[in-house]
């Protein structure tokens, strides 16, 4: 049974029976040189930098997966009120962070 997720305070159509507290997952990623050079060219003409879009969405998935792992270890079956944060921690590297409240729903 996959863990349910929502960014609302409950899982729609279900009731929360137990709270387990905050769960979170993060990952810090840097882009590799080849991609960076290509994106540098793309940066001249503007538009979407597809390599970065992909990199960030993959990283975010990773952060979410870590958050879900933590929820699972607490015996939760849902994470509610999920939030995301992105911060540039160093040159060319970004931290992707996901957090929410682990709960049991019925």
């Amino acid at each position: 049974m996959p863990i349910l997720m929502s960014n609302t305070e409950t899982i729609p159509g279900k009731t929360i029976v137990e709270f387990y507290g905050v769960v979170s997952g993060n990952t810090v990623r840097a882009k590799h040189v080849g991609r960076d050079i290509m994106a540098g060219f793309k940066n001249l003409v503007g538009g979407e930098l597809a390599a970065y879009t992909e990199l960030l969405s993959d990283s975010r998935k990773e952060a979410v997966a870590r958050m879900l792992e933590q929820a699972e270890s607490m015996n939760a079956n849902a994470v509610v009120n999920v939030r995301f944060a992105t911060s540039s921690v160093a040159q060319g590297a970004a931290e992707l962070f996901a957090y929410g409240t682990a709960v049991r729903v019925q």
Partner: protein
């Protein structure tokens, strides 16, 4: 002479990036308008509570994101604006485009997964630092849209 060549190259780059950048922008806006028209009937709302009478069968988190950047010419214009102050017009369409693209990707993903609506839609913007120029330049802006997608119980 050397300074003249330098100036010539800069002007050429400005012209080329202006032409290509504008073409890319125009094409993107066309595509956004078409896709938005197609998804007009799909409810995406920013409130958290479900409207009265909606019976939810299933729910999940929907997400869409994009990273965009400005062309060299418009960055140059924005730089000039930074000296004069005032409204930076060249950045406005860029952020608008990115936001609409992120929302569309979120919605298209939810439609593909068979959801009927998205509630509590939130938007986030973050700037990516460049690995060159000591992180001062920007490599682009990331726009993230997310919300809770719901499947509704069909009335018999």
């Amino acid at each position: 002479m050397e300074a003249l060549t330098q100036l010539g190259i800069t002007l050429m780059v400005l012209t080329v990036t202006y032409l290509v950048g504008s073409a890319i922008e125009r094409r993107h806006f066309d595509s956004l308008r078409k896709r938005e028209a197609r998804l007009r009937a799909f409810p995406t709302v920013t409130f958290e509570r479900l409207p009265e009478g909606w019976q939810v069968a299933d729910s999940g988190l929907a997400m869409g994101s994009t990273v965009v950047s400005l062309d060299y010419f418009k960055r140059f214009l924005a730089g000039l604006r930074g000296i004069l102050g005032g409204r930076v017009r060249s950045y406005e369409p860029l952020l608008d485009r990115a936001r609409r693209e992120a929302l569309l990707r979120m919605t298209e993903g939810a439609v593909a997964d068979g959801y009927d609506a998205i509630v509590n839609v939130r938007l986030e913007t973050s700037r990516l630092a460049s690995s060159r120029g000591r992180g001062k330049g920007t490599a682009g802006v990331e726009m993230l849209a997310f919300g809770t997608a719901v499947k509704l119980v069909r009335q018999p």
